[in-house]
Amino acid sequence: MNRVGFTTTIPIEILLAAGRMPVDLNNLFITSGRSRQLIEMAELEGFPRNICGWIKGIYAATLESGIKEIIAVTEGDCSNTRALMEVLSLRGITAIPFAFPGDRNPESLRLEIEKLMEHFGVGWDAVNRSRERLDRIRRKVWEIDRLTWQENLVTGEENHYYQVATSDMNSDPDGFESGIDTFLEKVHTRKPFRDTLRLAYIGVPPIIEGFYPFLESRGARVVFNETQRQFSMPYGITDLVEQYRAYTYPYDIFTRLADITVELEKRGVDAVIHYVQSFCFRQIEDMVVRQTLSLPVMTLEGDKPAPLDARTGIRIESFLEMVGDRL
C-alpha cells in the first residue's frame, strides 16, 4: 500500500517526497460518514468510555481503511497515542514514532525530521521541492483565511474546512488545489457577511456537527480557527525545521497563546470559544487560557461525533447574548 496514516500533523513534505500518500487519520475518521459506529467498534474492542473520542475513532478508522503504516506523534500531542500505537501493532500495523520536542529545540526537531526522512529514504533536496509545491497550495489557503476575517466573504465552516484539510491536502494535493481555485473564484462574487459578532475558535477541531452554521444562524461568525490555521503553516518560512518550530500546536500553551493573542487583536474578535475534548489534558490548560485572554471565553466540551445538542445550544446562545449586550 502506498498510503501512510498519521495521528496529527507531521511534516508531510517527507511523505510526498517519497511518493507516498498522506492520510490524516483524524480526517479519515471524522469524514467517514460512520464516525459514531467507528467509536462504538473501538469501545466494543475494549477502549474505555472515558478516553478521547479521537483516539478511538482513529483506531477503528485505521483498521477499517486497510492502512498498514502510520506515523504516531508520541510527543507534542497526547500520550494516549503511545497506547494507540501498541494496540495497532497487535493488529499488524507498523507505527513509526515521531516527537515534537517539548522545548522546541531545533537540533532535536531536526533529528526527528531526519529520522523520518531516513525511514522513507528521501534527502533534503526532494523534501524541499515538495515543501515548495505544498507552499503554493498553502498560500491559497492563507488567502481563504484572509478573505474570512478581512473581507468577510468566507463562512467559519469553509475557513475550518480548507485549513484543516491542509494537514494531508485531502490525500490528493492536485485535486485539493483545483478545489481551492474553484472556491476562490466563486467566493469573490459573494456579498460580504454582516455579522453582529466576530468569534475566535481555539483548541482542537470540533468533533460536534453543525457548530459553525448554528453560530451563523445567530449572527455570530468564526473569523479565526486557531489550530486549523496552524495546520496551514502560515509563516512564510522556507526552512523546514524552523517551519515546524513555528507551528504552535504541539508545544506549550504559552506558545499557542502568543499566537492567539496577536490574531485576536488583528482580526477584531469580540469573544472566544475554547473547544476542549472530553478527557483531554488540554482541559487543564483551559485555566491558563481564561487567565490570559481578556476577551469573554466560553469553554465548550465535546465527546463523541454528534449533532450539537440542545444543552450546548442553550449555553452558546446565552454566551452570544451576553457578549452582544456588552458591545
Binding site: E301, A310, R311, G313, R315, E317, S318, M322, D325, R326
Partner: protein
Amino acid sequence: MRIGIDLGSRKVKFAVVANGSVIRLADYDTLSFYKRFGRMVDDELTFDLAGTGMFAVDELVNPSIVVTGYGRNTLSYKDAKVISEIRAHVAGAKFQTGLKDFTLLDLGGQDTKVAMVSNGRLADFVMNDKCAASSGRYLESMATILEVSLDELSSHWEHPVPLDSTCGIFGESELIGQILRGHPIARLCAGVNQTLVKRVLPMLKRFPSPNLVLTGGVALDKALVRLLEQQTGQPVLVPEHPQHNGAIGCAVIESIRV
C-alpha cells in the same frame, strides 16, 4: 400585565406581574402540564392558558408572554417571546433582590447555573453540561432511597456522612452501603446535602462576590443553604420566590435591562 413562563425539567412555573409587582405565582409538574395543556399547531407549541384556570378571560386578551426553559431551542411558542434561562434568572434575581452586583447560583431540576452580575449586567456564567448530579433531581432520588420526604431531607445539615461517588446513580448504592453501616438517617441526609454543595463549590469559586444569591427549587432546602454558608464563609441570600425566579425574570425582563 405580563406573564412569565419557565418550562423546567420538573416543573412549569408561572409568574404574573402587574404594575411592577408579582400578583400571582403557580406551578405544575412538567409532564402533566404538557399532556393537559400543550398542543402542537403548525409545528408550534401552544398552551391552553385559559384551560389552566389561572387567568381571567380579559387577562388573556393580547397578553405579553415571555418564555424560557429547557427545550425552547427545539420548539417555538406561539404568541410568546423566548429568552435564554441565564437572562431570565438574572432578571428575576435582580428584580427580587434589588442587587446590582452579585453571584447567582441557580439549582434547578437538572440545571446548575452560576452567573456573575456586575453593575446590573451579566458578566460571565457557567452551566453544567455533561452531568446533572449537582441538581434537584439528585436530591429527589436520594430522598427516595432514604425513604424520607424532601422536607425531611432539607432539615439535616449536622455531621454529614461523607459520600464520594461522582455519579448520581452510583451514589445510590453508596448511600445504601452507608445505611447498612448503621449511620442515622439525619447524618445521611446531611451527607446528601453536603455532596451537592461540594459539587457546586468549584463553579462558585470562579465568580467570587460578597453577595451570593441562591435560586431554583433547591434553594428551598434549608440544610443545603446552611452548609453552603458554612463552606463559602458568607451569607446566602434566598429571594422570596426562589423556585419561580426564572418565571418572574421572564415577566419583568421588558421593564428592566439585563
